[in-house]
């Protein structure tokens, strides 16, 4: 079974600064997908960014970028130019590549990191 570890329960960052959230995972799979999701206070969880393990290039989405280190099984999220609206719980998730319908699409989530952006 895969495990996903987010070692930082909470992080605080000032507006316009950069913060990096760590995520490590344990798997014997070679082909898989990684995700960062954001859950703002009292709001729905939404996808921030995703990465396919077979792609070496790190994914970026505007101010959000990842550092994917496959050998180290590490998938950190960098938030640049932090904004007050980035205050949220951030979850790292792992999905293995599966061929059977009864195992396709299942995620393993980390415990989450609470990010607080201060003025």
């Amino acid at each position: 079974a895969q495990t996903v570890t987010q070692s930082q329960p909470e992080m605080s960052v000032q507006e316009a600064e950069t913060v990096t959230l760590s995520c490590t995972y344990d798997t014997s799979e070679n082909n898989y997908y990684l995700f960062w999701y954001k859950q703002p206070p009292s709001r729905q969880m939404i996808l921030v960014i995703r990465q396919e393990a077979y792609k070496q290039q790190n994914a970026t989405e505007n101010r959000f970028s990842v550092n994917f280190q496959k050998a180290a099984k590490s998938f950190s999220l960098k938030i640049s130019d932090s904004q007050l609206g980035d205050t949220a719980m951030y979850f790292c998730a792992f999905m293995k590549h599966a061929r059977r319908a009864d195992s396709w699409g299942k995620f393993q989530f980390g415990a989450g990191t609470q990010v607080v952006v201060t003025p």
């Binding site: 996903v4 729905q44 969880m45 995703r50 319908a101 009864d102 396709w104 699409g105 995620f107």
Partner: protein, 115 residues
Amino acid sequence: DVKVTQSSRYLVKRTGEKVFLECVQDMDHENMFWYRQDPGLGLRLIYFSYDVKMKEKGDIPEGYSVSREKKERFSLILESASTNQTSMYLCASSHRLATSKNIQYFGAGTRLSVL
């Protein structure tokens, strides 16, 4: 936009009651999921359905059952609610197509309190 709707944002139930949590998605997704979210534990998968009437146990299925009679609707059932089932429950759905990028779309959550 994909919409995943959970029938209630807040529910208060008594110990021993039968509780139904409903989830509806409007994007013809094959997969639907029920998670439980607790502080410090992240999201844990309760049950997963990959087609109508098909279900798979997740990591913590004990005390729960599910029903998927129609593709768009996935229900979570607590047969006899207990206080340790007080939690936030999240529903999600996803396509099984490779082109879908495997993204799960979430509902707003139901905060259940069992007294």
